[in-house]
């Protein structure tokens, strides 16, 4: 889901940076001290997740983990994902420096959307909570793939075609991330429920 250098047009790159700067700003402002360690650890997990290759289907895809990062961090997902992507661009040459803004927006916006959509459901009945956790991992990747299609479309490519390719290539990842999120949330609920957002006191 990393867009390389030189693919996108100038305005799209600029818009990506604008969104990312605003998102990172909000994220850092909302980040309180207790959340710093959690943010860092999730940023590290996100950084490593891209190396986990999913060898299913025709395309080369990898884990993204933006769903669980967004679910646990909320707006702090923006700085976490931006940092991890910057390091991926510098160290792995995944994506690129100029496309960093767009790539961050593509992965962080769905993360935050999923936070607002699914975090309130985590403390409902176990079935609802489990479905919400799965849907969170699933939807974050799906929305990311659609945004990827959108970014490429704005730079002169056929939206439907690119989005279809991106979405279909990521279907295995969506399912796997759904299960990862489901497992992690179930685990955290038992072990460290205070890490989950919106815990009724």
């Amino acid at each position: 889901m990393h867009i390389a250098e030189g693919v996108l047009s100038g305005p799209v790159l600029a818009a990506g940076f604008a969104v990312t700067v605003v998102g990172v700003g909000i994220g850092l402002k909302k980040l309180d001290f207790e959340q710093i360690a959690e943010t860092g650890i999730l940023a590290a997990a996100f950084f490593v997740a891209s190396l986990v290759h999913v060898p299913i289907g025709p395309a080369n895809v990898h884990l993204i983990l933006n769903g669980i990062v967004g679910l646990l961090l909320g707006w702090a997902a923006f700085p976490a994902i931006a940092t991890a992507l910057l390091l991926q661009a510098v160290l792995f040459q995944f994506g690129g420096i100029t496309s960093l803004g767009v790539n961050t927006a593509i992965m962080a916006l769905p993360a935050i959307a999923c936070h607002y959509l699914f975090a309130p459901l985590l403390w409902k009945s176990p079935k609802v909570a489990a479905s919400a956790a799965f849907a969170c991992g699933f939807m974050a990747v799906l929305l990311g793939a659609i945004l990827l299609g959108g970014a490429l479309f704005l730079s002169d490519e056929n939206f439907l075609e690119v989005a279809t390719i991106a979405v279909s290539a990521h279907i295995p990842v969506m399912v796997i991330e759904g299960f990862i999120t489901l497992f992690c949330i179930g685990f955290l609920k038992k072990v460290r429920p205070e890490m989950l957002p919106g815990k009724p006191s």
Partner: protein, 215 residues
């Protein structure tokens, strides 16, 4: 923090390390070289899978599109030299994946020099120089080579230079291909640990800044 939570994280990172060996897409690499009048390209994802049916575009130094085509099932695509210029070969492997490779004008010219049939450097010229060389090899002439006819000496120098560079090109070519094949950069432990360390360092900085603010 809970021990079990750390164990989970450790497992996740461990999984990442195990899987990073046959890594992934994110990057496509295109490599191109000249042989005679043809430019050959191969395209690969950074994990080693070939980029099939991907668009290749060739641009000159002024960014004009010269030609385009698609890679075959083995990721290969070749085309005749469209122009003697610095060429940029761009691979578009879809959904934002893109790789580039530059071929210098010199490389094209040198490779074309290999071809005797090429109209650019007709074979008559080196042969002429060669006869001058044999003529000049008489001892008395050799003494005043530089003084008598600088033009011929310059030609001779040029001939030697061309021959050497051509031979070197030919000898180095397989080596170059080999280097490019192994050059396929994959993130290693150093990069991964470096990145993780950087992130944990940032946590430290944030904690430090916070502790300074609230004594």
């Amino acid at each position: 923090m809970n021990k079990r939570f750390f164990l989970l994280l450790l497992l996740l990172f461990g999984w990442g390390f195990i899987h990073c060996a046959p890594a992934d897409a994110h990057r496509v690499n295109v490599f191109a070289w000249v042989e005679g009048n043809t430019i050959y390209t191969t395209s690969k994802f950074s994990g080693g899978r070939v980029a099939q049916k991907s668009l290749i575009e060739v641009y000159d130094s002024r960014k004009n599109l010269l030609l385009s085509g698609h890679t075959d099932a083995t990721g290969a695509f070749s085309f005749p030299i469209p122009k003697i210029d610095d060429l940029e070969i761009v691979l578009e492997a879809g959904t934002g994946h893109r790789g580039t490779w530059k071929i210098n004008k010199n490389e094209i010219e040198a490779a074309q020099g290999d071809q005797p049939s090429e109209q650019k450097s007709p074979p008559s010229k080196p042969e002429q120089t060669r006869t001058t060389l044999t003529e000049r090899s008489k001892p008395q002439d050799c003494l005043n080579v530089s003084g008598k006819s600088p033009e011929t000496t310059a030609e001779l120098e040029k001939f030697i230079e061309e021959t050497i560079s051509r031979t070197l090109d030919r000898k180095l070519h397989p080596l170059m291909v080999m280097i490019a094949e192994t050059r396929n950069p994959k993130p290693g432990f150093r990069e991964i640990l470096g990145g993780l360390g950087y992130i944990f360092g940032l946590i430290g900085v944030a904690a430090y800044v916070h502790s300074r603010r609230k004594p």
